[in-house]
Symmetry: C2
Subunit: 242 residues, 2 copies
């Protein structure tokens, strides 16, 4: 009857919350994308796991809801946070067809936070979180949002900057930001946070435009106040002004 | 020599990560705003604690850096995340004066994530995080950013919506959003997340305008696609379209 939607954080179990670990321990069945199940499987021996490939989000959510409706305690796992580009929204949309299921969302460390922590403090003031995946949002909407972010002098955390099927979306996004932002605006990328090959790179917006991002990259762009201090990307907040 | 900047999450120790708990256990000295020290003090008996009142951020950071420079392992604690409206930025700015200190930022669950988890899934698509505190950002910049957020049809997580000294900032922010967004746009508030008196309320943008927010409130505004489903605020992401 109970369905936890659990944010796993970036990938390392050390970045999971106590509450997330407790929900998984309490669950009889853990459902998720196969890449995320792999991250936790060995910590919970004896649990039932059910993994599905990418892009089968609706099926995955229906399975979790059906199993919970049949009386099981189920966890649906998401990387990062459960709500930010996670499965919580879709589960609430579908849950009306499975009335007895009680949903609890358990937040996790989203890539904006885990990536920023590696880069320094790029999001220490107002920022925008935007995904460049045009599979789920029309590209015209993405362009409009990038222009709006620049008009507001926001810092940006850019999710899903590029993939095999759309190798140039980060470049196109940078071109839009460069209509407003200086080419020397501090920028950065993180890759494989909390996993083998973890790394970060501080650069400029014009360099970010040339960066070969992949699905495990999160990109960051500063605003007009962002500085590079000792190799880190830092957006001041004005404490020294107050 | 080591300074951890630790995000405590919303307030309940269950929402801390394993890594954050480990950093505090490893530290000889834990520094922070007195309200945050109170949240963790009883879990770490025998530690040295140093708390300062609000608005003394620069002094608090200098103390932490000095103690770390003198050879101690120190944690600076922040509520929510360590970087998002946290102390990580200011510490990097000041750290150049304390060269031997090695800073590590340990992310935590920020209010956008913990609040969204209570309300449903209001931030399941692109969103803006904005603070209404005009102590640290000029109000004209805040207004410009609110207009930009509305121009991009972004969802919003609004930090520091009001305080004793500025009781009307949430109202003024809603008025700006209402220039573009429908008065019936789903909105919500959370209060005292992870603490006594935790609660959430789903409403409309015109109702949010009248809401008596305080310092322990985080406000959320949906975009043109956000729905209220079974009393929760849900922004679809397009999985059913893909």
């Amino acid at each position: 009857m109970k369905l936890y939607v659990v944010g796993l954080g970036p990938g390392d179990q050390a970045d999971m919350t106590v509450r997330a670990l407790g929900a998984l321990a309490e669950s009889e069945l853990i459902v998720g994308y196969e890449g995320y199940i792999r991250l936790i499987q060995d910590r919970f021996p004896g649990k039932q796991f059910l993994s599905t490939p990418m892009r089968q989000e609706v099926d995955r959510c229906r399975t979790a809801l059906q199993e919970a409706a049949s009386g099981k305690t189920v966890s649906m796992v998401c990387s990062g946070d459960a709500g930010i580009y996670g499965m919580a929204g879709l589960l609430y949309q579908l849950a009306e067809e499975y009335p007895p299921v009680w949903i609890q969302v358990i937040p996790g460390i989203t890539a904006a936070c885990s990536g920023a922590a590696l880069l320094g403090a790029p999001l220490a003031n107002d920022f925008v979180t935007i995904s460049l995946s045009d599979l789920l949002t029309p590209w015209e909407t993405i362009e409009r949002r990038l222009r709006a972010a620049a008009a507001g002098d926001f810092c940006l955390a850019i999710y899903n900057p590029a993939s095999h099927g759309r190798p140039d979306t980060l470049q196109r996004a940078c071109d839009i930001l460069l209509e407003t932002y200086s080419p020397k605006t501090p920028a950065g990328v993180v890759q494989n946070v909390g996993r083998d090959g973890e790394g970060y790179l501080v650069m400029t917006l014009e360099e970010l435009r040339e960066f070969p991002a992949d699905m495990l990259t999160t990109a960051f762009v500063g605003n007009s106040t962002t500085q590079i201090i000792a190799g880190r990307m830092v957006t001041p907040r004005g404490y020294q002004r107050a």
